[in-house]
């Protein structure tokens, strides 16, 4: 039986392959929907240019792999178009670790390149900003954490940091690392002229915990719990993406009932995350009443999740191969009642964010990002959908039970903060209706399928729609009981670039709102105010 999806991504991949025919050294299809093309480092910018000129997808992530057995570092450039993923693989030897930049073609790649440089020790020549991204300034040169030669148990010496760039003549107001506007630390420097912002830069890594490296030292099961704790509000999405990937590698499919329950928890988590965001964004605008009410209603969804999973945050719902618990009739009824209440409140909030005059003064026309800009900057999630870009993994590349219980995509075209608010509130309403349909038609079946302790060797890519956007996981197994490499590319890192870009020209008072508009999750993203004496 031909699968209509298979046809569509096959043709997409064929298209991609023919575009790059001249540069391919080797081509592989590791799993349905993926095409890996090995090319030489010098061909890289041209290949990327070809893909961009032909509007073939968008750059999703740059993964690094350390290959000590051949003394090489491999860089994987993942391009996604709908359900198809085309990966350009480039190898550079330890002896000559240099790659050309692709920022000339895709400016948003700068953050990925910065991360790749500092973690693997490869020089990306021509990259516009070679500053460190996650590692602190007192980390010594020459120590590359994600290379296999790095031993996490050894203590890394601290070195004296280099003096930072020259800021003469610029009036910089920092937001972060500690600031009431930020729920987590991150360093944004805004250069202002009076109240108008004229420049911006970002420095992250304040809650970097080395989770990707830590996964390599733990068994598959243990790694799942570690990844769940990458973030508090999208913790289930991380676990979901991971178990989907591991199940693909083990070639086991979780039972239908388990998949439906996973979708249930994911949907409830989305509602929770968006309500939290609504409150925080309202607080940034100074509308504390909306903050208090949306967080009061968030308690409803947290209580539902506690009743269902046993905890309000970090639901720990997934097992490799299924889920831990079942949904019985009483649970169903409680959840449906809770959803009714939430729907009524969400409709009210939709009314508030789209008609309240004082609130609209702070959100309408602020932080506008056109569709072209959004595509150029590589944003994902509700941030992109508010600018008219129809990118939603649940719709483009449905996973789990999203084929059976689909969601409709929510798009706005204005691209300003008001659109971002409206998109997220409408997404909550869509989630509620999807969950109702799901609860009325829960498929019968087992809760968990047996998965061996040693996962067969292979590489897989798992993409999931977290509340903030596309969550991209690259998992590699070498046949053992521990993962060889887990790469986590969270949606927030794609969206930070858009803040820096749209900040210029706005009032300083809009900065916290712009930051809130992308729903930043620094914890997801990361695995100082210095007054200089003049």
């Amino acid at each position: 039986m031909t699968n209509p999806e298979l046809i569509s991504f096959d043709s997409l991949l064929e298209n991609g392959r023919s575009l790059l025919e001249s540069q391919i050294i080797e081509a592989q299809t590791p799993e349905p929907g993926r095409l890996d093309l090995v090319i030489g480092p010098s061909d890289l910018p041209q290949a990327v240019q070809t893909l961009v000129d032909n509007h073939w997808g968008y750059l999703a992530a740059i993964t690094g792999l350390d290959r000590p057995e051949s003394s090489e570092v491999e860089a994987l450039y993942h391009f996604c178009s709908g359900p198809a993923v085309l990966t350009l693989r480039v190898r550079v030897p330890y002896a000559e670790p240099a790659l050309p930049t692709i920022c000339g073609v895709i400016p948003s790649a700068t953050l990925y390149e910065r991360e790749f440089m500092e973690m693997f020790g490869v020089q990306v020549t021509g990259t516009p900003d070679p500053q460190r991204l996650f590692l602190p300034d007192d980390w010594p040169e020459g120590v590359y954490p994600l290379r296999k030669s790095f031993n996490p148990q050894e203590k890394v010496p601290q070195v004296k940091p280099k003096a930072n760039g020259d800021n003469a003549g610029r009036y910089i107001v920092p937001i972060g690392p500690q600031h009431p506007a930020l729920k987590e630390p991150g360093h944004f420097e805004f250069t202002v002229n009076g109240e108008i912002v004229t420049g911006a830069s970002v420095r992250l890594g304040y809650v970097h915990r080395g989770i990707e490296k830590a996964c390599e030292e733990r068994t598959w099961t243990q790694a799942m719990y570690l990844l769940e704790r990458v973030c508090g509000i999208c913790s289930n999405s991380h676990a979901y993406a991971y178990v989907l990937g591991v199940e693909k590698l083990a070639q086991v499919e979780a039972p239908e009932r388990a998949q439906a329950i996973r979708e249930l928890v994911a949907g409830l988590e989305r509602i929770h995350s968006h309500l939290l965001w609504l409150g925080v964004a309202a607080h940034e605008a100074g509308f504390d009443t909306l903050f208090m009410y949306s967080w009061r209603d968030r308690e409803t969804v947290m209580d539902l999740l506690e009743r269902l999973t046993g905890n309000r945050v970090n639901y720990s719902a997934n097992l490799i191969g299924g889920v831990k618990f079942d949904v019985d009739d009483e649970q169903r009824r409680t959840i449906l009642a809770g959803l009714d209440y939430l729907e009524e409140r969400c409709r009210h909030y939709l009314d508030v964010v789209s008609t309240d005059a004082a609130f609209l003064q702070r959100t309408r026309g602020v932080g506008t990002m056109t569709r072209e800009q959004a595509e150029l900057l590589g944003v994902v999630g509700p941030t992109a959908r508010a600018s008219g870009v129809d990118r939603d993994i649940r719709v483009e590349a449905p996973y789990g039970s999203y084929r059976r219980f689909p969601v409709s995509i929510v798009i706005e075209h204005a691209g300003d903060l008001e659109a971002k608010f409206v998109v997220r509130v409408k997404e909550m309403l869509v989630s509620i209706s999807t969950l109702r349909a799901l609860l009325d038609n829960l498929p019968p079946g087992e809760l968990v399928a047996r998965v061996p302790r040693r996962i067969p060797a292979g590489e897989t890519i798992s993409r999931v729609e977290a509340p903030r956007g596309e969550l991209f996981y690259f998992i590699k197994s070498s046949g053992g009981d521990k993962p060889e490499r887990v790469k986590v590319r969270t949606p927030s890192i794609c969206n930070f670039g858009s803040v820096i870009h749209t900040a210029v020209g706005h009032q300083f008072a809009d900065m916290p709102m712009l930051l809130a508009g992308i729903d930043p999750c620094f914890s997801c993203n990361d695995r100082m105010i210095v007054v200089r004496k003049k």
Binding site: V173, G286, A358, Q361, A509, I529, V531
Partner: protein, 302 residues
């Protein structure tokens, strides 16, 4: 004997200590009402007192780059302004302690002393947030000061006097709220701007500039600024109640009228989003226009 009574009046009742206590009480009422409107519990009655006691017991740090003398004197001046203004205002149902022709203007200037001291305090520091906050504070002063004065001028013209005592006597005969509704509105909103209550709290926007001009203050200085704000709230509410709500001749009347005004203020706080500073300035052009219109109407219709 007279001097002793005056001193007692100045230090304890109705000025001085009782004023500070009532400032704390009104701050509590403001926070409690706001909390109940947001469906939450709110602080217990002694919270503002506890805050002040805590602040007074903390170490005061003078930041690098600030003039020490100015740093220490400004909070004192900020508290002194409203306390002095209270001498000319009918508090707690009693007539004003002192009175002379033109004391209305003096009171309005003294009330703005608090805001100006806040602005100067921010400008004194090298911290980014303080300087931005100071700029915003002073911008906001220019925005609402003129309309506020014009709005309070309405009752003065109607009463034909610059003396608060006489204006109040006139206001007791009829409710000026009914004959000068625009003036009342401008005065009330002007008071919100003066006290930097949301939605006019851009100068101390917590999520943008940490605490605005007062970011680097802690301990005694901050306690004095907060007490000053509480006193200013009481004095401002009294003035508006006395002029527009038919005078505050007796204690129950005073309490009822000022608390009703507070309720209106708190409702506006709860329901509106913070305005950006440029939006505040733009908005106040309308405020000034309305106040002028009111006065015009008054002059033409007598």
């Amino acid at each position: 004997m007279n001097a002793f009574l005056s001193a007692a009046a100045l230090l304890f009742f109705p000025g001085g200590l009782s004023l500070l206590v009532s400032g704390l009480a009104y701050e509590w009422a403001d926070r409690k009402l706001l909390a109940r409107m947001q469906n939450r519990l709110g602080p217990r009655w002694f919270q503002p007192l506890a805050d002040v006691v805590k602040l007074l017991s903390k170490e005061e740090i003078v930041p690098y780059g600030a003039n020490r003398l100015i740093f220490n004197l400004l909070p004192v001046a900020a508290l002194a302004g409203p306390l002095t203004a209270a001498l000319y205002v009918p508090l707690f149902g009693l007539p004003p302690m002192y009175s002379f022709q033109g004391d209305l203007i003096v009171v309005i200037y003294l009330l703005s002393l608090l805001t100006i001291c806040t602005g100067l305090a921010g400008a004194n520091m090298a911290s980014r947030f303080s300087v931005l906050g100071a700029t915003r504070t002073l911008t906001q002063v220019f925005a609402y000061e003129a309309p506020f004065l014009l709005a309070l001028l309405g009752p003065a013209i109607a009463a034909g006097s610059w003396e608060i005592r006489s204006i109040q006597a006139f206001a007791e005969t009829r409710w000026l709220l009914l004959t000068q509704p625009l003036g009342f509105l401008v005065a009330l909103i002007g008071l919100m701007g003066k006290l930097e209550l949301p939605p006019f709290d851009a100068p101390e926007a917590e999520t943008e500039i940490v605490a605005g001009a007062l970011t680097e203050y802690s301990g005694r200085g901050l306690a004095l600024f907060r007490l000053g704000k509480g006193v200013e709230m009481v004095v401002g509410l009294t003035l508006i109640a006395a002029f527009f709500l038919g005078g505050v001749g007796n204690l129950p009347g005073f309490l009822l009228k000022t608390l009703v005004l507070l309720l209106v203020l708190v409702t506006l706080q709860a329901v509106l989003t913070r305005f950006r500073i440029d939006q505040v300035v733009r908005g106040w052009r309308w405020g000034a226009l309305l106040a002028l219109l009111q006065i015009l109407v008054m002059i033409i219709w007598g």
